[in-house]
Amino acid sequence: MEENNSSHSPHESEDPKGSSRRNFLRNIGLAGVGVATGAAALYSGHIFEAKKEVSGDQKVLLTQDGKLVQVDSLEIKAMEKTGVALHEAEGREGIPGRRWVMVTDLSKCRNARKCISACQDAHQLRPEQYHMNTLQMQDSPATAPFNIPKNCQHCDNPPCVAVCPVDATYKRQDGIVLIDNVRCIGCRFCMAACPYSARIFNWIEPKDAANRMDQDYNVELNVPQKVGTVSKCLFSADRLREGKLPYCVEACPNGVYYFGDENEDAVTNGTTKETVRLSKLLRDNAGYQLMPELGTKPRVYYLPPKNRLFPFEEATDATPEKV
């Protein structure tokens, strides 16, 4: 055994020498290639950096998945049309962490109807198409008549969403009920199911349809409106995404509307821009909901028309033309 080992050992001692020489040469070659490549990369990187212009103007952008990122303004390029996909994805999710809520103070509403026109302008609606409509109501002959702005109640148990056969109308995590008019088949079951008559239908080609043919559909604005589909109040979901108050809330000259986030327990008056505690506002003024006995759990609260700032006047509205 030992003899065998000793006879092998000289041979082995010779071999490493030869291989180390080869390895050395190979390593040098490799290093040379590596250095050359690295240098080339550095050089080309340098050229690239030198070529690139930097404006120094950093823009903060919101990515599709809701992250804020900082990008140089020169890096911003106009995108190809994405169609409805982008709006649909974020429009179905809602704004995370929010629970939008509206408070309508009936003691302040004098049927100015500014909310209605602002809403109709924003949502491509004809004069007889109401997402928001101010009604004149009287509970019983002995009680006082009052004006009541009525929009979609964005119910937490929405009967319209339950009956929709194709998931065209849906409830979002931020409490808003929306309609996707790319999906809607126009069966109008949601309109039959809604106890607040909050939904309208595009019976004919919508107003100004020809000029909006090429416009991308925004599900949070429901524009362009489409013939043969249902529409309704969206709590101005597009404005909320920009951190602004809804169109109607902003347009009211009389301080009727408060709008805000239930999670923050804060609502802001659209006219005075005063922010108050939601719970305190409802408690102090005996806030209530429309037909809560139906179990729909509305997200719109009303403050009763007490201590009115002005007398009730019969509405002398010009009824829209026959359509």
């Binding site: 088949i185 309109m191 013939v227 043969g228 359509v323």
Partner: protein, 440 residues
């Protein structure tokens, strides 16, 4: 044996002599086709312009089309009552009526599916119901059960016809030559072997049993399209049985009318006798009484309490805008017919047919009264909208589009009854004591 042979030949010729293309058939079909084309033109206007060509608007959003849909589903239910319920109990006199009932069931069920498309704002998105269907929506249930019921009814129409096809194909010499191969294919090589009869009879029995839950489902689910909402007039727990019993009334009336005209036009006096009309009159009277019972429940109970929205709704029906129509339908289409039908003389073919026409027309207007008035009185007031939003009145285009399904039903019934024996041939022969038919 000779007697049997004579009888069999007579039965065969009596029940099949109408299977030929004659002038009156061509004129009738031509009339139906032209009328259908006019209605289809009206529908093309709706397709181009939108549902706005109809009188429906934001408050009364379901109009004639939906009333029509409910009516068609209702009329189709008769297949289940005649064939399944009464048939399984073992009522022998029904034999000559079963195919008429099944034909009506198939025609109305098939067309009901089309009617609902005329009510869609976006009919081109029909496939979305299958692509994005949500099982929470009663519309999905409706689509499912109507399709099921249609397939079951079609099979139930076809299976008893296999033997008839075989007989016609081999024994009837007067057939138009181009029809012969059609019957040969449809006869599925039936040769009246005991084994074949056993298979067919078992299949029919299974179908009859399956038909009962399917039929109950289609009209119960259709009633739920309304009853799942909280609106006054629709928010009712008896809506399911109310609709089902009403459907039997409409369907029985339709069968009696069809019996009358088949008997007259196809000379079937020996097969559809006064006895059959008398018995069908009793059936119609019975289901009308059941329907009356549900009507009392439907109106008396909310009428006693007079909850705010219910009170407005009932006021309009009983004494308001819809009162004339309401009482005409309830008295002329339900109370008076029941009274008349108690007497034998009014269950003779002509009077019972006339009563049935009144009942069927009233049945359609009853659907109108169920669907429309409720929507004219929502919980919150209708204000600041044009007058035509407040009160619904159908437009001419809408009426034409609503007539189309009736024409389609007539076309289907005409074609089925023209090219197939109206009365089950094989079964009738068996009941006359002809046990086995020899095929060469």
């Amino acid at each position: 044996m000779d007697d049997n042979k004579l009888t069999f030949d007579k039965i065969t010729s009596d029940l099949t002599h109408h299977i030929r293309i004659n002038k009156s058939f061509l004129i009738w079909m031509g009339f139906l086709t032209v009328s259908l084309l006019v209605c289809l033109y009206a529908y093309s206007l709706q397709l181009n312009t939108g549902l706005g060509v109809a009188g429906i608007r934001d408050y009364v959003t379901w109009g004639l089309y939906l009333a029509n849909f409910v009516f068609f589903v209702a009329a189709s239910l008769i297949g289940m009552l005649i064939s399944a319920v009464l048939g399984l109990i073992g009522m022998k006199w029904l034999t000559p009526i079963t195919r008429i009932a099944e034909t009506i069931a198939v025609a109305f069920a098939a067309v009901a599916g089309l009617v609902i498309i005329s009510d869609m704002g976006r009919p081109e998105r029909l496939a979305y119901v299958f692509l994005y269907g949500r099982p929470q929506s009663p519309i999905l249930w409706d689509v499912t059960v109507i399709t099921t019921y249609f397939v079951l009814s079609l099979l139930l129409l076809f299976l008893p016809m296999i033997a008839d096809m075989a007989i016609i194909h081999r024994k009837v010499s007067t057939l138009p030559s181009w029809l012969k191969p059609v019957y040969k294919v449809l006869s599925l090589n039936f040769t009246d072997q005991p084994e074949q009869n056993k298979i067919i009879n078992r299949a029919i029995r299974i179908l009859l049993i399956l038909l009962i839950p399917a039929a109950l489902s289609i009209h119960t689910v259709t009633s739920w399209l309304f009853a799942v909402t909280s609106r006054a007039g629709w928010d009712s727990t008896v809506f399911g049985p109310y609709f089902v019993s009403g459907a039997f009334v409409a369907g029985s009336a339709a069968v009696i009318i069809a019996m009358f005209f088949f008997r007259k036009n196809y000379k079937l006096q020996d097969y559809l006798t006064d006895v059959h009309f008398n018995n069908m009159g009793k059936v119609l009277a019975t289901v009308s009484l059941v329907y009356l019972y549900f009507n009392i429940n439907e109106f008396l109970v909310p009428g006693y309490k007079l909850k705010r929205a219910d009170a407005i709704h009932l006021q309009e029906l009983f004494a308001g805008k819809d009162a004339l129509l309401f009482w005409a339908v309830q008295i002329g289409g339900l109370l008076l017919p029941i009274l008349f039908m108690l007497f034998r003389r009014f269950r003779k073919p002509l009077p019972i047919m006339l009563i049935s026409v009144a009942v069927l027309i009233a049945a359609w207007f009853k659907r109108y009264l169920i669907v429309i008035p409720t929507q004219e009185h929502p919980f919150l007031p209708i204000q600041h909208v044009p007058q035509n939003f407040v009160h619904y009145s159908p437009t001419l285009i809408e009426i034409l589009i609503s007539i189309a399904p009736f024409i389609l039903v007539l076309i289907i019934i005409t074609l089925i009854s023209k090219f197939f024996p109206v009365i089950p041939l094989h079964e009738t022969a068996r009941e006359k004591g002809i046990d086995h038919i020899k095929f060469d």
